[in-house]
């Protein structure tokens, strides 16, 4: 299972703050994002402005591989400070 965290606007749209998502085998990030969008079609309305984080590091390579027990987060455009 991968732990998925939804933040800010993503959390509001999806309606939950986090969930465990099953992956059968190590999965590229790009595929995993499609999987999440199938689970929660409303994510598609976020217009690709999101970033994503894997184990608390921003994802720059969407071919990176997700493994069991990884933590994946949807990071809407930030507004700290």
């Amino acid at each position: 299972m991968v732990k998925v965290l939804y933040w800010a606007k993503a959390k509001e749209l999806v309606g939950i703050s986090d969930e465990e998502v099953y992956i059968g085998a190590p999965t590229p990030v790009s595929h995993f994002i499609l999987k999440l969008e199938n689970l929660h079609p409303i994510l598609k309305t976020l217009n690709n402005t999101n970033l994503y984080a894997l184990n608390m590091e921003f994802i720059t390579n969407f071919n990176s591989i997700l493994n069991n027990n990884d933590e994946f987060a949807i990071i809407p455009p930030v507004s700290g400070g």
Partner: protein, 153 residues
């Protein structure tokens, strides 16, 4: 090269996220050193209006949410980057409030000390700019009519 956590321990820098009200003088004391000739600070405060779709809307309060462990990591990276960019910084302290922030209240405070003032001024500005760019913290503006909007930096 030390990683950001080791670097912070080495210099006794301070980064924190709290749901309590911020106190700038506490941060100033954290960076005060006998070999510093300057302490520069920045406080980000809640403005009572934001412009949304060209219209000025009155803000009643802000609510901040953070992916706290990752936000702390990014703040540590920002501190490391400031030390790489600017030489002769003595100490750095950065603190961000999460939860509700009323109009006029501080949501973020930064203090930097150095032997001579130029570097503290520059580092302060750099740190807030970088924090706003990279830190996984989100601000929700709550307006007079009860509606709200997630801001984007």
């Amino acid at each position: 090269m030390l990683d950001e956590v080791e670097l912070m321990k080495y210099h006794n820098d301070f980064v924190d996220i709290t749901d309590e009200n911020l106190n700038l003088s506490v941060l100033i004391d954290k960076v005060r050193t006998e070999d510093s000739g300057a302490i520069c600070t920045f406080s980000g405060t809640t403005r009572n209006y934001f412009v949304v779709d060209g219209i000025k809307r009155k803000v009643v309060s802000l609510e901040y949410e953070s992916y706290t462990p990752m936000a702390i990591k990014e703040m540590q990276k920002t501190v490391k980057l400031a030390r790489t960019k600017f030489q002769d910084i003595n100490k750095i302290a950065v603190q961000h409030k999460i939860g509700k922030c009323l109009v006029g209240e501080e949501s973020v405070c930064i203090a930097v000390s150095s032997s001579h003032r130029k570097v503290s001024f520059l580092a302060c500005e750099f740190i807030i700019d970088e924090l706003k760019r990279t830190c996984p913290i989100w601000k929700k503006e709550i307006y007079e009519d009860g509606s709200f909007n997630w801001k984007e930096n």
